[in-house]
Every structure is written in structure tokens, then in C-alpha cells.
Symmetry: C2
Subunit: 677 residues, 2 copies
């Protein structure tokens, strides 16, 4: 069993060990005068990596200073983990001993970065010389000091630059010391300074204690558009749908603009204590069961539910989806029905009760007798971990690279950190989405433990204040470096109250918010696009006739369907880099609590998108919105143009205050491309 | 050469090493389900210790959570560094997975602390049982599960408690399962829960990766009252003062209430390039020189300036001071005059110039030819460090335990961390005060590197906003845990503008602020108490006729002297624990920018001090101040009494708003003891 990432509680760095190690090292060198602290990003003292996608920048800040008044210089060091060679990126001072630099990650996999800094005697000398020359002081000895520094640097340089530096040293030695203008020109020469910057004396450089890690993913980790659907509801009316039926649905999904199609578990479904329609405790004959009740005589997590098709059908379906630019994501639900082969073959992976039975899931007083949770305190945990990992690798072998993980917060954290690390070491393009709607620190810890994307509280954030505060938090350090939000306005488990009461406008509003606030979002359809809003019970969030328990028929051509809006917005997302990442998100003031306004701007292009949404699904709202023109790159004294990408309308605005009016029965809002001609 | 604390840049924890170590450990145990993060206090990822004085509490907070819904429990582990045994303090949950606990440090030296947490199956069981019993579910198997947990705990218990637990296990096994009231009483028994809390199953406990350090000092590190004076100005008029003369001054200093008497360097003073009066470049015959120009033919840092007396005189003086409750603090200025023995015997400890001379101090275009700075990049740095340390140990041998360190920010940080660590390992009662008025991060780093106390920017913080913001920062985490402010309204180098222009009231105001805002403060006297306010040049901060360059005569009985105020305030400080630490400092609103109001409250007594100061030395000010009565421990609906400790006046206030009026020509303000009868 090969074990990869460091796990908490196992790695112990006692002060004593640190002291002994430090003593050894200090005996070698006590002259490192530069201090390095306060690096950002650095997650939990470097315990966890930050996340990036290919081509993204890593902006590093650090407090760096030496003793006394000597000048200092420093660099970012970074490398692909497997590469022995550090690359270097310059650091420049901001204010108050804070320095800043950046580099770009260009390959998927793991990178490391750290900081090095040193007292730069040439820089100090040059700074002092400028002042001495201005004061017309005698600099005879200083010139010799400078010559020595340049000579030493020449030994670190090669070829042509070595001889240039040697010439410079001679110049400094032989200079006419009373000839101030010429002296100044030579001593303060930019050519000399430039050469010397290339060959600093780093023998007493301080390098930061830790090498900090980055997990670099493919682009879909940052920018993806998800559609969840139950394959069994894709068949002819009255029949259990199959992979073939989902194949037939692919053109529709592609037309809507989705690039990830996520399927609930496709494995055999247990029969013991199977739940009936609308979550009734006893299933009736013909009830299809809950896909998350995994495992039957027909197999477990590596098998396919026979009613969906064969493994060959699955392969064909995955390939077909690929032709439409759609990647299939599978559900990874580590739990078993009582009929799962594990329950018979590996009962040691479950908790046994004194009466010899296996402990079913419970949340007292509720009992879930159709589910056996995995016992992560099993004596046989090593084999258990290996088996659970092998489930992922099995589906990777079938061409699956995205896993939506069911309830990861009810499985042991060390397992996730190990498993995801193991899988990504060999398959760095595999992505894991954490379905955890639980406490904030638990969700954050799952993201830190390796999950590529995470479900969010978006589902329940409705007011302007809630949305603003929450998305500010998600796009600020440290969350923005570890937690990639995947926002869902609905899921098979959650029909939020807002959607129950707001009618079709509510579905459109929440859709536009999801698709523009976050670079990655998903909907559970066709329920969503046809505006299915009937709850099982008033006040609850469960769907009536939930697909979790039964097959549903959907009218994809319903006049209520918002599919045209969905298709249009997804096209806007593809065409506008501004909407493909989250870090530039900024909220703008509107003098009406029912109207939210925010902008996104692409890092390396001029793409500026301004979104204005009416949060009320009931009433027309209007207000004055205020834009910080200068910081958006617009000249305040000139007009600017807005093109509404939702309906091709055009406006010309001038100044920071402008009026908007939105009728939710006509449109949820505006997605403006902003330009100044 | 024994080297103690970990130093940055020497200790390298690469990801690779961490991974390998973690792999080894994880192979042993992957079932640690509790996660521990976000500990406070933890300074720079545990790189530096926090500071406490004997008897102080350490309040620890931590994020702690497990997977799923199981109950968890945890403890603080702490110990004296040299003790092999961990002590334990309980952790209790706050909100949002944050836990809190505390312990008290009772000995000087170094402590370590960390956190341990575990999934507590008994607590989970008890929680579930409460709900199942309420729902009147069949709990037959659950009772057996509980019995097993209790039996296992009995094996961890000893003697009487073991048999109690065994009896409880039998009770659970034999309980009448239909008899709900009795069942509930037994299952949820507090006695059983209490016993089980004492013997939890910690076999899968997670212990935080790091052991965090505390440096515990004697009380004077936190609460001390400093007086700085030039011994040579204590003599008969026209004569160079001696230790004998300072001895004669001790009753005066004691009467004023100071407990630390800090002397500028007492070593032989160089003659080469000696500075004259008022910092003139050339000394005249008879000029006494700058005490910080250390070293002459008569010796260096371990010698005494002959004009002050002999080593025997010094010993007698130190002993005499002790009789008055006054501890002597020496100045530790690591720099040399050109006449210092080091310059001849150890020229390798200085920077040599190409012309064979030693590099003098400079800050171009200024030159300080009377000073040779130490070269911390010397090839011979190990011997240099040992020699510098030996200076401290030499004076420790002479009975000195407090060092005020001159310009520590111009010496290498690794040296301080090593030297202070070394000295305090053998002499944990030695205190170091950092005289650094430099950039914030440098000052903070010196404190982290081991300095017991630090000079502050108080000297230049005059307005209510400046004082409030600065002291809020100093008394907030993390500063409050690492940086002990020692505030000075003046020093021999700094006569602030406020004092130059505000007359005697300015001296009284700044004094009361210093002595009540900070548990530790100092004044440079007799200059301060006699209100010496003449600058060398208008707009500058140097004193005219500065004692740095010449002997001064002071009229201690000047009618302008504020010595009575000083004596009174220092007595108030001694009598009121509230003023002996900083952490309880809170500012209160006054509707006049010229009046500042704050309170301090002792941790373990009812001592509540309220200070109100008029910041204008010119005009009478009045205003309404607002007190948060409830949070100060006062009942809002009842009157409370204020005793002005400065003049024994008494007031009765009622409600949160009250009126104050202060005439700076009568009093700088009020120091109220607040009480509710």
C-alpha cells in the first residue's frame, strides 16, 4: 500500500525535533540575515495545497526584511513537483516590507513554490553611492568596494557577461574620482545594475522553511456546466430508461449547452428494505428503488444496474456523449444496501451489533434500514481503503474522469486525502466534486483534503445581502485558493422554498444567478427547466413524486420550459472568459434591495461583463446603480456602451449612476457586455 | 557551541520529507477521524512561542470536528518543556465547530501545549439513546452496545471506578427494557456520564501536528515601571557623577515609585572621533563623550568607565538599589568605538575596507566615524556570537537581570533568537527590552525572536484616534501574545513635538497616558519630571544640551516638577491589579475628540479602573462619556461610585451617559476606581 499525502495526526513535528534539526543546520550557517514570513497563499501553514487550473497565475505576497538599512532582494522559486530544477520569478516591494510576485502554471499535476531572499550588497552600495555623489563626498574607497562586488559577480556570470562585468570592475577602479558627472553616470549605470541583478550573491540567502504545494487541474475544474438527470426517466412512457435512451437525449443536452452530464448511481439497487414512491418505508411491487441504495445479487459499485444496459452500452454511451462535447460524471456513493456483495464478503467493513446484525444508518429517531454505512474504524481499514479506491480506478478504466461524491462528510477525512491523492498522482485529470451541504468548516476541510469542486450554500442564499456576503467570502483568500464552488439552484434532494413559490420567474432568476455568479454550476433536470415546483409537503424541501424513488415523465417541450434561456446563457458563458472564473467578481451598489448587480472581468482580456438581476420573482423593480468606472477600466468622462447579451438590446450610459428597471415576467435581468469605444 | 532555538532558513521541511514521514505514520493508523485546525494562539504556524508571566492564563481556541454525526471530545495537553508528562485541560464547544479551553502557567521557563481530540462513541450513544427513548423505540440491542462501551471503559479505569463501571455495564445489560422512566434515568444517568468522561476511548485520538511553545517570564516582564538616568549627571555641580552619587539618588527614585532603573552604557568611552556637546563633530577638551561610543584603552563591554567608579562600587550600588526595591537595567549596545579592544584584537568582527581600514557606521550621506558596527556576516561569526553572549553572561554574573538592547534591528535576527534562547535556558529570569523604533514588521519580528518587552510608537501617538487604534492593535491577537509594550513619552533621543509645545500640562498628560495605558512604561529623567522641553533645533526632536554628549545639572526641587503626580500614579499602579496588565484595555466613547476614556479590569478580582484624560494641554474640555455598564459588570439600573485616585474626589453616577469636564491646568484627567455598592 503506497501512501501519498501528509495526514494530520500522523505527522508530528515536536518543538524538540525542530530544535535539533535547526541546531544542526545553524551550525552550518548563522549569517542568513533576511527574514521571510506571512506568505500568501499558504493554507493552514502549508498543510494543504492551493488549487489552480492550467494557465492560471499564482500571485504570491510575502513579508521580507533584513536587519539594518541594507537593501534586500528576493525571488519566488517554483517547480513541477517531479522536476529537480527550481524556476524563478521576481519579487518586487509593495509597502511596509510586503513583496509581491507571480508565475503561471502550465501543466496539470503538482507544483511547489517557496521564497528566497538575501541582503544585496551591490544594491546597498549603489543606493549609498547615489547619496554620496549628490553630497559630493570623496568616494575613492567606495569605488574600490564597488569594484570588488562587481568582480565577485563576474565569477558567477558566464561568457560574455563575465567579461562585461570584469570591464565594469576595471572602470570603477580606474575612474577619475573628481569628475562627478561622469562618475555618476558610470556608478549608477543601468547597464551595470541590470547585469548585477542577474548575478546576485546568494550565499547567505534565506529560503523559506516550507515548500508550498499547488494542485493544478485541467480547465473543467474551474469552468464547467453541469446537468444532472436520472437515466431511468429517459425511456418511453411507462418503461425503464436505458443508456440508449440517454444517448437519444444527448442532442437536447448539448443544445442546452451543458458539458458535464452527471448521473446518479448506475449500479444494481438493493431490494431489502427498499423504499417506495415518495419515500414510503415499504416499496410496492414494481417500485424501482433508490439508486443510492447500492448493491444487489447483481453486483455492487463496479456493476451496472441491468435495467440500464450492459457495460458495452455504457461504453458506447460515454463515447457518444464525447462526440457532443459532453463528459459523463458518475456518482460515488460509498454506502451499501443490505444486499451488496460487501455485506456478505466483507462484513468487517461495517459496524456489527451485539446481536450479530450489521448496523444500518440512523439519525435517531430516524432509521435507514436500507443503507449500511461503511465503518471507517474497521480493523481491516487498509483493505477497505484499497477497495474503495479500486472503485474509482475501475470507472477511470471505463473512461470516467469526473466523480460527484455523495455525502463525503460522513466518511473519514484521512481516507479522502489519501484516496484523492493516490488517484490524482496517476490520473491528474480526474476531478472530484464534494456533495456536502454541512457545516462551513467541514466543507472547507473536504476541499482542502483534495476535492476539486464543492457544493455550496447558494441553494439557500436568496437575498442581496446573503448572496453578496457569501460570494465575497468564496472569492476572498483563503477560500478562493482552496474551495471551487459548484452552485446548484436545485438538486433531487432540494426544492428550495424560493422555487416553490416564485413560479417560472423564480426559476429564471435563480438560473441566471447560478450561471453568472459562479464559473461552475449545475441544475437537476429536466425538473429544473420545466419548472417543477411541487413539494412533497408544505414547508419541506423534498419533491413530490421525487425521481429518487420513481420514474418520472417530463415534457421537454412544455411551454413553461426555460430551455431557451438556459441555452442562451450557456452560450454567453462559453463566449465570455469573464464568466469562466470567479476571482474578479465584484458587487456594485444599487439603491434597491431587490436588485443585485455585479461584474466579472477576464484577467488577460478586456472582456467586461455586468450582470443585473431582479431578485423578486413577483414585481417589477427599478433603481439607480453605481459603477466604479475607473477601477473597471472605463474612462469616467466618456460614454460607454452596454450590449444586453440576453436580448441583443443596446444602451449607452454615461457617468457612474444609471437607472435600471426589470420586470421579472419579461426577463430575470440583464447580462451586459460593457465596452467603451 | 550549543545552539538552541529553531532558526528560519535553516530548518527545511520540504513536502517530500513531510510526505515520507506521513506515509510511515499513516501505515500505522488511518482511523483518526477528528480534524484539528485553526488553533489560537499559534504564532507564525508555531514557529515562535507566545509569552506569558507566571500565574497568567492561556486561553486556547481551536476548530475541531469529525466526519458524520458522531459526538467528539477533546483536551488541551500542556507541560513544562522538561517534564515528560502532559497535563490536561478540558475543551468545551463554542459555536460553529470552535472549541475553547484554558490553563494557567505557574513556573518560569518554557511550556508546550497542543490539542487532542477523538470521536466519543459513548457520547454519541447517549445522545442517540435520549432521542430513541423519547420516541419510545425498542432499544434492546442499543442497551447491549452501551454495556459494551461501559465495559471497555472499565478496563481503562482503576480501583473503585473500575468496579463502578462494571456494575453500570451489568445494569445496562439487565435493564427492564419496557420500563421507560427507569430506563431513561439509568441510561442518561449523570453519574455514568461523568465516569465515562473520565475514561474515554482515545485509541484513535488525533493529536495536533505541532507542539506550541510558551515562554513564561517573571512578573516584571509584564508589569514594570522604568526610570532612565545618566549616572554622570548625578554628581556635585561641575563634577562627573559616580555610582556613589546614583546611590544617593535612590531614595528619590524609590519615592517616585520606579522599580527598574535603567542606565545608559556604563563602559569606557572612546576618544577617537569623539562627539562634542550638542552632537558637534569635534569634541573639545573635557567633553565627556557619548556613552554609546563604547570601548577605550580602559576596556570594552565588560569594563566600567573609570569615572563612574569600580566594579566593587557597581556591586555595592546594585545591592543598595535592591534594598529600595529597584532593579538595575543595563544598556546592551553591540557596537564599538574605534578604540575598543575588539577593534585591535578581533578586527575580523568588523567590515574591512579595501584600503585596510575598518568600515565605520554610515547612513549616506551621514557618517558616524566614532562607531564601528559589528559585521554579522563575519567569517568568524560563531566566535563573535559567543563573545557577544558572554557580555550578557558577564553582567548576569554581576547581578544584572534586565537588559535594554540598543538598536537591536541593526543586528542579525538569527543572532538574537539564538542568544536570548541560550541565556534564558540557563537564566529564565533574564529580561530583554528591544529599543527599536523602526518598521512595524521588524519590531514584531524582534519580539517574536525572544525580546521580553519592546519600545513602541506611543512616543508619537497623540490624538484619540491614534492612541485608540494603536493600543487596540497591541492588545489584540496576535500582538498581545508576543509583543509586550514598554511605552516611553520621552527618551534621550526623542523630545516629541507635543512636549515641546504643551508646557507642563503636556508632560502630565503624556505621563498619565503612558502609566495607565500600558502595564510597563518608562521615562527618561530627571529631564521628564522637570519638564525639560527645549529642542536643539526647531522642528527637530533632539534635546538642547542633550545628556548624550554632556553632563547636565537638574533641579529636582523645581516648582515645575511633576514628581508628586508621578509618585501618586505609580502608587495607584501598585495598588490596582487592573493597571498591571494590558489585555482588558477597552476604549469608551466620548463625544469630544480631545477627551479619551478607557477602562482596565483585573482578571480575577473586581478591580475596575476608568481613566479619562484631556488630550489638549491648552484648553478645558468637556463631554459626555458612554460606558457599557453591563459588560463592565455594573448593573445598569443602579447608581455606581467613582473615586478619583488622583485627588480623592468622589462621584456617584447613574446610567451609561455621564458628563466630564477637565481643565489641563488643574489636572490631566481622572483615574477612577469604579465600584457599585
Amino acid at each position: 500500500m503506497v501512501i501519498n499525502p501528509p495526514l494530520q495526526g500522523q505527522l508530528r513535528l515536536s518543538q524538540t525535533t525542530q530544535t535539533q534539526e535547526a541546531s544542526q543546520m545553524l551550525l552550518q550557517e548563522g549569517r542568513r540575515r533576511v527574514q521571510i514570513e506571512g506568505i500568501s497563499p499558504e493554507i493552514d501553514c502549508g498543510r494543504f495545497p492551493i488549487k489552480r487550473t492550467i494557465g492560471e497565475g499564482v500571485n504570491v505576497e510575502v513579508d521580507m526584511f533584513g536587519d539594518g538599512h541594507d537593501a534586500i532582494a528576493g525571488l519566488i522559486l517554483y517547480r513541477k513537483e517531479e522536476s529537480p530544477e527550481w524556476l524563478e520569478a521576481p519579487l518586487t516591494p509593495l509597502v511596509n516590507d510586503r513583496w509581491q510576485g507571480s508565475f503561471t502554471v502550465t501543466e496539470i499535476g503538482r507544483y511547489l513554490y517557496t521564497i528566497t531572499g538575501w541582503v544585496d550588497h551591490f544594491l546597498s552600495w549603489r543606493k549609498g553611492m547615489a547619496k554620496k555623489l549628490e553630497a559630493k563626498q570623496d568616494v575613492a574607497v567606495d569605488l574600490l568596494i564597488g569594484a570588488e562586488l562587481v568582480e565577485e559577480a563576474s565569477l558567477r556570470a558566464g561568457g560574455d557577461e563575465r567579461s562585461q562585468l570584469q570591464t565594469w570592475a576595471q572602470t570603477l577602479r580606474s575612474i577619475e574620482r573628481e569628475d562627478f558627472p561622469i562618475l555618476e553616470e558610470k556608478v549608477l549605470s543601468q547597464d551595470l545594475a541590470g547585469l548585477m541583478t542577474k548575478y546576485p550573491d546568494r550565499k547567505f540567502a534565506t529560503t523559506y522553511e516550507k515548500e508550498l504545494a499547488i494542485v493544478v487541474d485541467r480547465e473543467k475544474a474551474r469552468f464547467s456546466t453541469w446537468y444532472e438527470l436520472f437515466p431511468r426517466s429517459c425511456g418511453e412512457p411507462g418503461k425503464h430508461g436505458t443508456f440508449k435512451d440517454v444517448e437519444a437525449r444527448l442532442p437536447y443536452i448539448a443544445e442546452l449547452g451543458f458539458d458535464v452530464l452527471y448521473l446518479p448511481p448506475i449500479h444494481p439497487i438493493g431490494v431489502t428494505f427498499r423504499k417506495g414512491k415518495n419515500n414510503t418505508v415499504v416499496a410496492e411491487p414494481g417500485d424501482v428503488g433508490v439508486p443510492w441504495g447500492i448493491g444487489s445479487l447483481e453486483g455492487g459499485h463496479k456493476a451496472i444496474h441491468p435495467e440500464l444496459g450492459t457495460m458495452a452500452d455504457f461504453h458506447e454511451f460515454v463515447a457518444k456523449a464525447g462526440e457532443y462535447g459532453i463528459e459523463i460524471a458518475l456518482d460515488l456513493a460509498y454506502q451499501c444496501s443490505p444486499d451488496h456483495p460487501y455485506a456478505k464478503e466483507n462484513p468487517q467493513w461495517f459496524r456489527s451489533r451485539p446481536d450479530g446484525t450489521i448496523q444500518h444508518a440512523e439519525n435517531p429517531p430516524k432509521k435507514y434500514q436500507d443503507i449500511y454505512p461503511i465503518e471507517f474504524e474497521s480493523e481491516d481499514w487498509q483493505n477497505l481503503w484499497e477497495e474503495l479506491k479500486s472503485v474509482v480506478l475501475f470507472w477511470v478504466d471505463q473512461g470516467i474522469k469526473i466523480f460527484r461524491v455523495d455525502n463525503p462528510h460522513t466518511k473519514a477525512f484521512p481516507f479522502w486525502e489519501w484516496m484523492i491523492g493516490e488517484v490524482k498522482r496517476d490520473y491528474p485529470d480526474v476531478l472530484f466534486l464534494a456533495e456536502a451541504f454541512t457545516r462551513p468548516k467541514v466543507m472547507s476541510r473536504l476541499a482542502k483534503s483534495g476535492f476539486t469542486q464543492s457544493y455550496t450554500y447558494f441553494t439557500w442564499r436568496n437575498t442581496k445581502w446573503e448572496l453578496t456576503e457569501y460570494f465575497k467570502e468564496l472569492t476572498s483568500y483563503p477560500a478562493r485558493d482552496i474551495f471551487r464552488p459548484n452552485v446548484w439552484p436545485n438538486t433531487p434532494d432540494i426544492l428550495p422554498e424560493y422555487l416553490q413559490h416564485g413560479g417560472r420567474p423564480a426559476f429564471m432568476i435563480r438560473f441566471v444567478l447560478a450561471a453568472t455568479l459562479a464559473a461552475t454550476y449545475g441544475i437537476y433536470g429536466p425538473s429544473y427547466e420545466v419548472c417543477d415546483n411541487r413539494p412533497l409537503k408544505p414547508g419541506g424541501e423534498e419533491y413530490l413524486h421525487s425521481e429518487k424513488y420513481q420514474i418520472r415523465e417530463w415534457d421537454l417541450n412544455s411551454p413553461y420550459s426555460i430551455k431557451d434561456l438556459i441555452a442562451r446563457v450557456n452560450r454567453i458563458r462559453r463566449e465570455h472568459p469573464a464568466l469562466q472564473s470567479n476571482n474578479s467578481l465584484r458587487f456594485h451598489h444599487v439603491d434597491n434591495e431587490e436588485i443585485i448587480c455585479y461584474s466579472k472581468q477576464a484577467e488577460d482580456s478586456h472582456d467586461l461583463i455586468l450582470v443585473v438581476v431582479n431578485l423578486s420573482p413577483y414585481h417589477k423593480q427599478s433603481g439607480w446603480l453605481q459603477l466604479p468606472l475607473q477601477s473597471l477600466g472605463l474612462q469616467p468622462d466618456r460614454p460607454y456602451q452596454l450590449y444586453d447579451l440576453l436580448n441583443d438590446a443596446q444602451y449607452t450610459w454615461r457617468g457612474e449612476y444609471n437607472y435600471v428597471e426589470i420586470n421579472p415576467h419579461v426577463t430575470p435581468g440583464h447580462i451586459f457586455r460593457v465596452e467603451q469605444k
